[in-house]
């Protein structure tokens, strides 16, 4: 149990709350959601408190993350997409900070749970659908009808487009979830090797160097993945929002 690589994903209740038969307890996951939001919001709030004309180092970090997401959104969805900036920025910062906080030993990684990433993905796709229909009405369905396709192929192409659209929330959420899950399991397994080899005497301690080196390397890789997955999530969000803004391909 203790060395079980799955154990780190276990959700435990901290403050049990049950309303109408639904378990709405404040869990370790909730705790780390609060921590993520507090860390991200606190960092952004405190570093920009001076509103320096010449930014301090930490203020530069906040500004860089802002401009990073702004450039991403402008490239992905055009200047009209900037109305979604707060959402994309929130998503990026939330996922990034959640992933990074998950890198601390003993900390819970909220993005390693499919329901969380799926909820975030549904938020994106829901925004796309609602805004698309609100802005373009039924013209939004042009999204599924690419121009310049021969009539006979049209049903097939439309079907493919619909399926690809429907698979978006799944691919968006599973990508993030699976990356975080697999990364943390791998780390745990290699770290487990270190422990179990280390308990086998001098020879084992010598042999434990290899998995230890692997763990160190994987930790570095996981930090990269933590950033990269937040980036990918945000970039895909921008691309999907582009569909809502310009459905006519």
């Amino acid at each position: 149990m203790a060395n079980d690589p799955i154990h780190q994903f276990q959700i435990t209740r901290l403050v049990p709350i049950e309303i109408g038969g639904l378990d709405l307890s404040f869990t370790n996951s909730s705790l780390f959601m609060v921590a993520t939001v507090a860390a991200a919001a606190g960092f952004l709030f405190l570093t920009t408190a001076n509103r320096g004309l010449i930014p301090s180092r930490l203020q530069s970090v906040s500004e860089m993350s802002y401009e990073f997401v702004a450039a991403m959104l402008r490239d992905g969805a055009g200047s009209q997409g900037m109305r979604f900036f707060p959402m994309v920025f929130s998503l990026f910062m939330f996922v990034l900070v959640a992933n990074l906080i998950g890198m601390f030993p003993y900390f819970f990684t909220i993005t390693s749970h499919l329901i969380v990433t799926f909820a975030l993905a549904m938020l994106v796709v829901g925004t796309v659908v609602v805004y698309g229909f609100w802005k373009h009405g039924l013209h939004f369905l042009n999204l599924f009808v690419p121009s310049g396709v021969p009539g006979i192929l049209m049903p097939l192409v439309v079907m493919i487009e619909v399926i690809s659209f429907l698979s978006r929330p799944i691919s968006l959420s599973v990508r993030l979830f699976a990356n975080m899950l697999a990364g943390h399991i791998t780390l745990k397994v290699f770290a487990g090797f270190v422990v179990s080899l280390g308990s086998m005497g001098a020879l084992g301690i010598g042999g434990a160097i290899l998995p230890l080196a692997m763990t160190v390397a994987l930790t570095g890789l996981e930090f990269l993945v933590a950033f990269l997955q937040a980036y990918v999530f945000a970039v895909l969000t921008c691309m999907y929002l582009n569909d809502a803004l310009h459905p006519g391909h």
């Binding site: 959601m33 939330f94 499919l114 969380v116």
Partner: protein, 194 residues
């Protein structure tokens, strides 16, 4: 699967509080299910995600995004303003340089004009001096010539007297007799063809 001593085991950091706040047996949801697919935890996760992310979104859109956007815009404005100011100052400097150059050219012209006048004046003065000196020299030369002529005339006049005396002496020595002064003078006059 692995041989692990309890000291190395990773334990959930929340287990301590957990045992205090949660009734026995309710420690984990769903028992042996793979945690991410344990649907009994979904409601709680969704609720808390909605609460935390919702607050986060509100905070971002109300406070952070306007603030950082404002900072960046202010900086952009300030840079544009500074560039304008720099351009203005550069234009001023260019104008000052042009004015200076013009003034310099004028001063040069003036200086050369002054030099020209001075040179002309000096030349005229020199010319006048020269003319005056020449005139003086001419006058002196004329005087000199005049006095030379006078001296010559006088000398020539005296030549006759000397000739008379010499002739008288010569005649006296040669002939032993004496001749009158008037005879000698007549003879000389005849000799000199006068």
């Amino acid at each position: 699967m692995f041989v692990v001593t309890p000291a190395y085991a990773q334990s959930n950091p929340t287990e301590g509080t957990n045992s205090e706040t949660v009734a026995p047996g309710g420690e984990t949801h769903g028992g042996g299910a793979f945690p991410p697919f344990d649907s009994s935890t979904y409601a709680s996760q969704l609720l808390w995600l909605a609460i935390t992310f919702g607050l986060f979104y509100l905070f971002m859109s109300r406070v952070i995004v306007p603030r950082i956007g404002g900072i960046l815009e202010h900086r952009r404005d300030r840079i544009a303003q500074d560039l304008d100011e720099a351009n203005r100052l550069k234009e001023e400097a260019d104008a000052a340089i042009a004015a200076y150059e013009q003034e310099l050219a004028e001063a040069r012209k003036k200086a050369s004009a002054i030099a020209e006048t001075a040179r002309e004046k000096a030349k005229a003065a020199a010319e006048a001096e020269r003319t005056k000196t020449e005139a003086e020299l001419n006058a002196k030369m004329m005087d000199a010539e005049k006095s030379i002529l006078a001296i010559k005339d006088k000398a020539l006049a005296e030549v006759d007297t000397i000739a008379e005396e010499t002739a008288t002496d010569v005649v006296k020595h040669l002939l032993g007799g004496s001749v009158t002064k008037a005879e000698v003078a007549a003879a000389i006059r005849a000799a000199s063809g006068k």
